[in-house]
Amino acid sequence: MPLVNWFKRKFVVIAGLLTLAFLLLPNVVVTVFSFNKPKGRFNYAWQQFSTDAWKDPCGVSGLCGSLSLSLQIAFWATLGATALGTMIAFALVRYRFRARGAVSSLIFLPMAMPEVVMAASLLTLFLNMGAQLGFWTILIAHIMFCLSFVVTAVKARVMSMDPRLEQAAQDLYAGPLQTFLRVTLPIAAPGIAAGALLAFALSFDDFIITNFNAGSTVTFPMFVWGSAQRGTPVQINVIGTAMFLVAVLIVLTSMVINNRRNKQKA
């Protein structure tokens, strides 16, 4: 039974590779089809290799405009949610105040609320307030739903921080601002960065809440959805692949920097 034994020994590796394939296969399809030259309007069947779409990513009218809008919203929503969420996380961990427990649970409620219900309710709220739907309503909505995630990520980090580190900084002549900048912030940074990345990803590809509250504004996910009903331009795959590559590049760069730092230390 050498085959069975081999399988037993390699089971974990095989399971891991299969799961990884399951995870990455859709990305591969996106990339492959960005080099397709479809017949007709739908990019669903492989025809022939072409780099046309890569040469002209903005060739479809409205696509790059929506992409730029989505990136802007994601940037500002990340900034807003990270700043607010970090402060909330510190408040929840560091300070004892009335209803702290209640606030702590309330922060998580938006995550539990079905998104589509939240979207419809937000629209009701905005309409009742007489707000004009567009960039600002989208941004407000995005900051709102990203907040819970940022708080969760930062809170976990702050909870594991030893308050004595800040006392040690104060003991070593660092005033409150210096203590925050030199000790608190650098140590909390990984949590804050994780929260920010999460917020960016969530905001960038949010469709449901955005669709309800955008008015006549069109973000990238809305553009994809809209065009999918009339035909899918290959450029969508190009944008998707590019985003994926940028993310991979960022991860690789940070790994290289980390490795180099560790080597210097050793």
Binding site: Q170, D171, L172, Y173, G175, V183, K265
Partner: protein
């Protein structure tokens, strides 16, 4: 390395106290730590020693009283404005900075330029010059501890506060670091205030020890003074082992008090008694186990006159190499502990043997009988100190 010896480095605590809600961690306390001394605050967890230390550092605000450093009243100053540095219990090294930057932290915050030389010298003093570019988690416990000391000392504080700095180290390393810290203190001449629950550590390192119990200082003195002349059962039991006998004041002869314990008489110099001695009053008499001689009852005639004597039966013996420890049952004290050096071992001193315990009256100490015999023995520790913070 430059030593800071500017005058007025005394730490003076006047009427300082700390309460948390209804819990009093430190009762109003007056304490003076002389400049340049190695001072230990000794006590079980929850006795208020760490709170006292943190009030000196400025990390805890006193409920009442003042803290003076030399002539300066620092009570209202935040920690970052006090010329005092702390070595924290868990070291509290900055995990995101390397050893060099950890040590340079205090200098940089005060805007001092060209710290390289100073940090290098300091790291050499604690023998960590090679490790400057490592992160704290890459060092062993003992090395981390030395970084914490270097990080504090480089600022030439008027006072260095040490909060159980050796608690996380194993026994052998702890011994080594005790000597190391003592060496550094002698070398730099800075006042050290050291908090510990380890009586041996306090006695080995400190010039002066303040024994704390329940938020109060029980007794203050040199290690030898505290050991030889405890003024309460807590001190007698917390520092080493003591045999305590309940006795009654019988009469006086000159400088001495004659006490009645069971059928026998004991003599106690009046100067060594921390209780009022009215005839008929009760006192507790104490004697350290190593001060006692053990003689077999058959040889009792050879014991010189003028020594305090008690008769008993050996209940147990244990051989420790340098000495033998005996537990003796007697009428006045059920489990009398006696340590005898193994010079000439008397083979008759086995369990069941009738013996006479005798010692010089000068080694006897006495105090008020109205206190627990067991105060300060292990297991009678109060609240956890952390819980009080």
């Amino acid at each position: 390395m430059k030593t800071t010896t500017d005058a007025g480095g005394d730490v003076r605590l006047s009427g300082i106290s700390k309460t948390y809600g209804s819990f009093t961690a430190v009762h109003p306390l007056d304490l003076t730590v002389p400049q340049g001394s190695f001072f230990a605050l000794l006590g079980a967890s929850g006795c208020g020693k760490t709170t006292t230390l943190r009030m000196i550092a400025g990390l805890e605000e006193p409920t009442s009283g003042t803290v003076h450093l030399g002539d300066q009243d620092v009570t209202a100053l935040p920690p970052y404005k006090r010329p005092v540095n702390t070595v924290f219990q868990s070291y509290a090294l900055f995990p995101h900075l390397d050893i060099f930057e950890n040590v340079a932290f205090g200098l940089r915050r005060r805007g001092i330029k060209g710290v390289k030389q100073q940090v290098g010298d300091m790291l050499d003093l604690v023998q960590l010059g090679e490790q400057a570019r490592k992160k704290p988690h890459q060092l062993s416990g003992g090395q981390q501890q030395r970084v914490a000391v270097a990080r504090a000392l480089i600022n030439h504080p008027k006072v260095l506060l040490l909060d159980e700095p050796l608690g996380a180290l194993d026994l052998k390393l702890r011994r080594q670091m005790q000597l190391e810290l003592k060496r550094i203190q002698t070398e730099v001449g800075i006042t050290f205030v050291h908090v510990t629950h380890d009586q041996e550590e306090a006695m080995t390192m400190a010039d002066t020890v303040a024994v704390m119990n329940g938020g109060r200082v029980e007794q203050l003195g040199s290690p030898a003074d505290l050991y030889e002349n405890p003024r309460s059962t807590f001190v007698a039991n917390f520092l080493g082992t003591s045999n305590l006998i309940e006795a009654e004041v019988d009469s006086r002869s000159g400088e001495d008090i004659v006490l009645k314990a069971g059928d026998g008489k004991l003599v106690l110099p009046e100067a060594r008694c921390a209780a009022p001695t009215t005839t008929g009053g009760k006192v507790l008499v104490g004697i350290r186990p190593e001060k006692i001689s053990l003689t077999h009852a058959d040889d009792a005639g050879g014991i010189p006159e003028g020594r305090n004597r008690i008769t008993g039966t050996i209940a147990a013996t244990s051989f420790i190499g340098v000495s033998t420890q005996y537990v003796v049952d007697s009428a006045v004290c059920p489990e009398f502990e006696v340590y005898v050096q193994n010079v000439d071992r008397d083979s008759r001193l086995a369990p069941g043997a009738e013996v006479v315990l005798h010692w010089s009256p000068a080694h006897t100490f006495g105090f008020d009988a109205a206190q627990s015999l067991l105060a300060g023995t292990t297991g009678s520790a109060g609240l956890d100190e952390e819980a009080a913070l």
